[in-house]
């Protein structure tokens, strides 16, 4: 059964289209990843699914409820960890969780047990009486995940859960998230712009400029790239490019002075290539397909460079729009 169904969802902020006619389904008990650069429309989609925003048009169903028509039922069925912390720093970890339990009408007799259970699960039980302002970034994130689980939601939304964490806490958090569907019978819907993190997902949708440009399992998506990527730096890129194209028929592209092409068997391809273009070769490297290559292949740009250039302005214009309205 699909626990999330999104049909032709559109969200416009003034004349900016943040989400442009997207449709997808998420199966129950899976980890679904929404992958794309900042400003691609990920958070807007999450906010619509969480009933914080109304879409311009289209339909979204979560746990069988319409996000527009039955927001209260949707809210009961979901837990959310936002991009920015939403804990009360002046309250203790325990108080934050009890606050949440009351808001979600958890039966009083179960409240204490449930709060202690999730605290144990995220390994914060012995810090439960400390105020949250004493917590590190990773601990806060874990506490927020714990909070999102107290009312036993059917879907847990994680918006960029590892943003701002150091690599070690990031890894810990991912191991922890990967266990959630089994241990808590919950479906995970998460967004990230770290491609390596999307590997834990059962299915991924890649979103760019408000449109979904591909969906599939991580392996299926990597097949889009069509094999390994070979990067070659030469002393004469123009001629080397021509020679490789003539002898191997590859589609050779150039980026930052480096030629790159995809071939099914990179290991055997490289020696042949070196024999062909000979002394021009300066450096060679081989990359097994990653999701970054998928993104590169689909959009013609790396996900990280997008992060620095265009998107800032889109986010800014959305914020400016929302300030005016």
């Amino acid at each position: 059964m699909s626990i999330i169904r999104v049909e032709n969802l559109v969200k416009k902020f003034g004349n900016i289209t943040a989400v442009n006619d997207i449709s997808f389904k998420v199966e129950e008990g899976t980890i679904f990843g929404f992958l794309g650069p900042n400003g691609a429309g990920k958070t807007t989609t999450i906010n619509i699914l969480c009933t914080l925003l109304s879409p311009t048009s289209g339909r979204a169903l979560v746990a069988g409820y319409d996000c527009m028509k039955e927001p209260a039922s949707v809210r009961k069925s979901i837990g959310i960890v936002f991009q920015d912390t939403t804990l009360d720093k002046d309250l203790t970890a325990y108080e934050n969780l009890v606050f949440h339990a009351y808001l979600y009408d958890v039966p009083k007799i179960e409240m204490k047990d449930r709060v202690n259970d999730v605290l144990n699960f995220v390994d914060l039980y012995n810090r439960k009486d400390d105020t949250v302002k004493k917590f590190s970034g990773g601990m806060k994130r874990r506490l927020e995940v714990a909070r999102g689980l107290i009312h036993r939601p059917r879907v847990l939304f994680l918006d960029e859960p590892t943003l701002g964490l150091d690599p070690q806490s990031r890894n810990n958090l991912w191991e922890f998230i990967a266990e959630l569907p089994k241990k808590h019978a919950v479906t995970i819907f998460m967004t990230t712009h770290y491609l390596e993190e999307a590997e834990v997902c059962d299915r991924i949708a890649i979103i760019d400029n408000g449109k979904i440009i591909a969906t599939g399992t991580p392996d299926e998506l990597k097949k889009i790239v069509g094999g390994d990527v070979v990067y070659i730096r030469t002393s004469d890129n123009v001629n080397a490019k021509r020679e490789i194209q003539r002898s191997f028929g590859f589609d050779v592209l150039e980026k930052e002075g480096e030629l790159y092409m995809t071939c099914s068997m990179g290991d055997t391809c490289i020696p042949e290539m070196i024999r062909t273009i000979g002394e021009k070769v300066l450096t060679v490297r081989l990359q097994r397909p990653t999701l970054n290559d998928v993104f590169l292949k689909l959009t013609g740009k790396a996900i990280r460079e997008e992060e620095v250039s265009g998107e800032g302005s889109i986010l800014e214009s959305i914020r400016a729009y929302r300030r005016r309205h």
Binding site: F13, C50, T51, L52, L53, S54, A72, S73, R75, K76, I78, I80, F82, D84, T85, T86, L87, D88, K89, D90, L91, E95, V98, F99, H100, Y102, L103, Y104, D105, R147, R322, R323, H325
Partner: protein, 254 residues
């Protein structure tokens, strides 16, 4: 309305209030200053034959001032919650917007009533003799006026995102509300234009109700300006309007 949600919103606010003891002291310092310094100074200018000493006349107004400041500033918690993201935690919960507004307004009500009671406890020093019934009535009025002004503060707070802009607008609104409320001088003595503005100010009716309770046989210029019934209806009516408007304005935007 979800009573568990209202309960926990109030409990959180009170817990935070009790942890910040300095807030209580600073909130009480202001009315004391007005009562014993400004009041004592102005009383020298006021003729003695107006019915009662000026420091007694402003007593209901100073209780009203305590409520005004404390209720309006309690709505700042909404701005902080927005700024630190906690508001999102509340807004995505399966809780009606009315419950959120009522919870926040009740928090403001309790905090304001506590502070107003501290000021009220000074009545023997001002030469008043209040019966137990009068004291109960004053407390009841304090609760209703605090709820009314707190929900008004919440209406304002729903429109602002940052502390800076909100505190500017607060200072811009609070002082005129105080001076045009009959706290320092009877509304009936005001020039016509100011009288109209004072009549649009819900605090005017709150302070007038307090005057009814504290000096029921006030005479002449110092007597209350409106009937107790009209005061009660205005306070209850505007409270309902403020709660309604604030709930609507909390609904999802965009």
């Amino acid at each position: 309305m979800e009573f568990n949600a209202i309960y926990v919103i109030v409990a959180r606010e009170l817990k935070k209030f009790l942890r910040e003891k300095s807030r209580l002291f600073s909130a009480i310092a202001r009315p004391l200053l007005w009562l014993f310094i400004v009041g004592a100074g102005i009383s020298r200018l006021v003729p003695r034959d107006t019915g009662m000493p000026y420091t007694q006349f402003i007593f209901p107004g100073i209780i009203g001032m305590t409520i005004l400041f404390s209720s309006m500033f309690s709505s700042i918690s909404i701005i902080w919650d927005k700024e630190f993201g906690f508001m999102k935690e509340i807004l995505v919960a399966p809780v009606s917007r009315t419950s959120i507004v009522v919870g926040k307004a009740l928090s403001g009500t309790i905090v304001s009533t506590i502070q107003a009671s501290v000021i009220l406890a000074l009545f023997p020093f001002l030469g008043f003799q209040l019966s137990l019934i009068q004291i109960m009535l004053v407390l009841l009025i304090c609760v209703s006026v605090s709820f009314c002004i707190s929900s008004f503060g919440i209406v304002l707070a729903t429109f602002y995102e940052s502390y800076e802009s909100f505190s500017v607008i607060m200072n811009f609104i609070i002082m005129p509300m105080f001076f045009l409320s009959g706290a320092m001088y009877p509304v009936k003595l005001l020039p016509d234009i100011l009288k109209i503005v004072a009549q649009l100010n819900p605090l005017t009716y709150g302070i007038d109700a307090l005057k009814h309770a504290i000096f029921p046989d006030g005479m002449g210029q110092m007597s209350p300006d409106f009937s107790l019934l009209s005061c009660a209806s205005v306070i209850i009516g505007t409270s309902l309007v403020f709660v309604f408007v604030a709930s609507r304005s909390f609904e999802r935007k965009g």
